[in-house]
């Protein structure tokens, strides 16, 4: 794990985006966390008014976690190119 490899993409180049839908409606203010491939916390953001979230990331494997009152839901995702990745939570 070193930032010296020029072949490696820089964090911030790509994005993981998605939405949270609860009971059929896009949920504002839901808490979504980004974890790295080791399960370490990277960032957290509440969803927007439209239930959306976005994280700037590098290529690689990530986990997006929806924090709920009694537990959480994890979704794994892999970012390979500039299309980024989309993660949807439907609760």
């Amino acid at each position: 794990m070193c930032g010296a490899n020029p072949e490696r993409s820089q964090t911030g180049d790509y994005a993981i985006t998605g939405t949270v839908v609860v009971d059929g409606e896009r949920k504002a203010g839901a808490y979504v966390r980004l974890l790295d491939k080791n399960g370490e916390f990277v960032a957290e953001s509440p969803t927007s008014k439209g239930g959306a979230f976005a994280f700037f990331v590098a290529q690689g494997s990530w986990t997006v976690r929806l924090v709920l009152p009694f537990g959480s839901i994890d979704r794994s995702t892999v970012v390979v190119d500039q299309a980024g990745s989309t993660v949807e939570f439907v609760v």
Binding site: G3, T11, E44, S45, P46, A54, V67
Partner: protein, 287 residues
């Protein structure tokens, strides 16, 4: 100082709901969050407008701080309970600020707004009206704050703790992943600083971990209780969170917050910078 002196929970808030000597203050990164709903009786402090000098980059003056508290009906003996979003980042920053300006009767709501919401507790939109006070102009407690020259002099000599995410520390990112990538001129970290992200201290619901867990986290990172310690992040709010943990929850002495943080240090000319995951030597380097 210990956990029970500085942290309260929802039950405490309910018990003191009618106590006119207790003032709840919401402080959020998203300053509009208050308008969508807040804990009953809470007033808002806007970290940009109320806690940043309107002209230069600095804290507001002691006079402006006294005016802010007076306007919100807070007196020197008022118990202030701070809470906010983002795992209490800005509430912790405000807590540090209150301590810096000598208001010792201040507490943090454990878990902040997130835990309150996750627990399904009520939020209201009614804005309380409190009679103004005449808060005396405070004196800054300089021993709680570090400035850039102290930080430069501390490289290799004082415990420096960078509480940003590993990618920000290593220089792969200039800001948290959920925020626009902007700010400092250079990425990286202050040479010799260890990296203990603020998030290590918090549970998923935003509450602080147990004292035993916290001690384990910071000692495992090589920090020694009692040794002079400077915490920094990007703009000083996440490091206020870690300052709160070390100085207030664990009661470690000699801990300061460098509120200039990376947005200042990473834009200074001629100072050493370290790139990569290693703490580095005082001269900096990497890449």
């Amino acid at each position: 100082m210990s956990r029970t002196d500085v942290l309260v929970n929802a039950d405490w808030v309910f018990t003191h709901a009618a106590d006119s000597n207790v003032v709840l203050i919401e402080v959020d990164e998203d300053v509009s969050a208050y308008d969508t709903g807040h804990i009953a009786g809470a007033v808002r402090v806007d970290w940009r407008q109320d806690l940043q000098d309107p002209v230069r980059r600095d804290l507001v003056t002691p006079e402006a701080f006294a005016a802010l508290l007076s306007k919100n009906g807070i007196g020197p003996d008022t118990t202030v309970v701070l809470y906010g979003g983002n795992n209490n980042w800005f509430a912790a920053y405000a807590y540090w600020y209150f301590k810096l300006y000598g208001h010792d009767n201040v507490k943090l709501l454990d878990g902040g707004r997130k835990k309150w919401e996750l627990d399904g507790r009520e939020l209201v939109t009614e804005v309380p009206v409190r009679a103004a006070t005449n808060y005396p102009v405070p004196t800054e407690r300089v021993e709680l704050r570090s400035k850039r020259d102290e930080v430069i002099a501390a490289i290799g000599k004082v415990q420096l703790i960078d509480v940003r995410s590993p990618d920000e520390y290593a220089g792969r990112l200039l800001a948290p992943a959920h925020l626009p990538q902007e700010q400092s001129q250079r990425p990286g970290h202050i040479p010799t600083a260890s990296n203990v992200p603020w998030s290590k201290a918090a549970n998923d619901d935003g509450t602080f971990k147990t004292d035993a867990d916290l001690v384990e986290i910071y000692t495992a990172a090589g920090l020694t209780e009692g040794a002079p310690t400077i915490a920094y992040c990007r703009i000083g709010e996440r490091s206020a969170h870690t300052w709160f943990v070390l100085h207030e929850v664990l009661g470690w002495d000699n801990v300061t917050n460098y509120d200039g943080s990376w947005t200042e240090y990473g834009s200074l000319v001629g100072v050493p910078v370290q790139i990569g995951d290693e703490a580095g030597s005082p001269a900096g380097g990497g890449a």
